[in-house]
């Protein structure tokens, strides 16, 4: 079995990966502290409980990322000749499904509470020798809970763009959106304070809806990836021209009559084939190897390319230009 070459990241990207790993460890610690604070302040508010579950779920993507990064470092082997890097997408699939499942459960919970017309009881706690309404403690906890995710999400986002890592990008976007959870929770508690018992369940419903939405969006991203989709930028802000680079290079070669490129993404790397119809067949093996090697070096995001020669392209070039997306 011919095993793929191990992937080598350029130095700059390698540093970014280390930074991403560090940030995910910090995320784990910070989110754990948020979970602790929320657990202490929770009481019987449905919105607080839902926000707490969402904060617990925020641990899942970093755990998925850190476990996958460990496996991904292994070089391709006899058993996995294509390498181990797809484990990242699989880990994220697990995370996305978990989020969706919990989103559905939480929505059900919130609707049930609304139907049962539960009036949330929020009493007082002893703080510094005085009886203080627990709602204030909840609001403080919710305010704190918005800070670490938003800060960390904002830090992770540029890394995700530079590393062309959709999984990290999805995680960063989820973190950044967490301020809405805290805001909704606070509005729910304030609503209770004004005697609007349903405000609590309504806020819980909004939060659960956002959990489900996060899960569905992540699910869409990872499903597309696992289905070997053609390479696209991580978001509107990434400069992504891998396909064009390869086509321009091959097109300029004098010995190439016609060519076609087929690429897919395997997580954060591009792999694929270059189909060449040569003008002449002298030195063909050496030329094909040269093309593949040079094309691989055009962009750090390209991992593996194979160049092959065909007698003709079977006139299928016209079909390709009708592609969608």
């Amino acid at each position: 079995m011919r095993i793929r070459e191990p992937r080598r990241l350029p130095h700059a990207q390698d540093l970014q990966v280390r930074r991403a790993v560090r940030l995910q460890w910090v995320s784990l610690g910070a989110f754990a502290s948020v979970i602790g604070v929320m657990a202490m302040a929770m009481g019987s508010s449905q919105a607080m409980k839902t926000a707490w579950v969402e904060d617990a779920l925020s641990l899942v993507p970093p755990i998925a990322f850190l476990s996958a990064v460990r496996v991904r470092r292994k070089p391709p082997s006899e058993r996995y000749p294509y390498g181990h890097h797809r484990v990242m997408s699989i880990a994220f699939l697990v995370a996305a499904v978990t989020l969706c499942a919990f989103g559905v459960l939480l929505i059900g919970d919130a609707i049930a509470a609304l139907i049962r017309r539960e009036h949330p009881t929020v009493g007082t706690v002893t703080l510094f020798g005085r009886q203080v309404w627990q709602g204030w403690v909840m609001i403080a906890a919710l305010a704190y809970s918005t800070v670490p995710p938003v800060v960390l999400g904002t830090m992770k986002l540029p890394l995700a763009r530079e590393l062309h890592a959709k999984v990290l990008h999805a995680d960063a976007m989820m973190n950044k959106a967490d301020w809405m959870t805290g805001g909704a929770g606070m509005l729910g508690v304030v609503g209770i304070g004004f005697g609007l018992w349903w405000a609590d369940s309504a806020a819980a419903l909004a939060i659960s809806w956002s959990v489900l939405n996060d899960g569905l969006r992540a699910l869409k991203t990872v499903i597309e990836d696992l289905m070997d989709r053609a390479p696209v930028p991580v978001d509107g802000r990434e400069r992504f021209d891998v396909v064009e680079k390869i086509e321009r290079y091959v097109g300029r070669l004098s010995w190439v009559a016609e060519h076609e490129v087929r690429l897919r993404e395997e997580g954060d790397v591009c792999v694929g084939e270059i189909f060449i119809v040569p003008r002449a067949t002298d030195d063909l093996p050496q030329r094909l190897e040269e093309v593949a090697r040079t094309a691989r070096g055009l962009d750090w995001r390209i991992y593996d390319l194979v160049a092959t020669a065909l007698p003709s392209l079977d006139g299928r070039k016209a079909e390709r230009s009708e592609g969608d997306e």
Binding site: E118, H119, P120, T121, V122, G123, T124, T126, Q131, W133, G135, I139, A143, V150, T154, K176, A177, W179, G183, M186, L187, V190, I192, G193, F194, G195, L196, W197
Partner: protein
Amino acid sequence: MRPRAIPALIALCASHAALGFTACERFPADPQETTERVARERVLRVGVTEHRPWVQRGPDAEPSGVEVEIVRQLAASRGARVDWSWGQQERLLRKLEEFELDLVIGGIDERTPWQERVALTRPWYDPDAPGAGLPQAPLVFALPPGENRWLGVVERYLAAHEAALARRAAEALR
């Protein structure tokens, strides 16, 4: 788009909080306006169940005991008289859940399964206090669910008289 909305949301919450502080008297509110009604009608509707030594039923159906005394004094502090309803505790708690009573007493255990359906106060009796004779769970009063201002009133009263309550509980157990 989104990051710019953060200061707006913070301002929204801060203004809510400010509103809350200014309306401190009525914040948090009672969805069923229990506190207002007690003040307006000057009546406290209390459900009682006999549970020695905390609540005892006299020959003339007049309640007595530590918990009864606490409730009488609480009512007096609110300028209200007490309307006692004797009954089986489950029935009384159900009436409480439906807002037909303002308070239910009778040796209610803090761990009662009713904690999900009605509001329980902080314990007025703490078995960990020195001198407590019989092993007991912490005892609470039950209030209608979600009446958070009323709960605050009762809990503040219990907190303010904490030492006196502990003393009277110890005496009752001797």
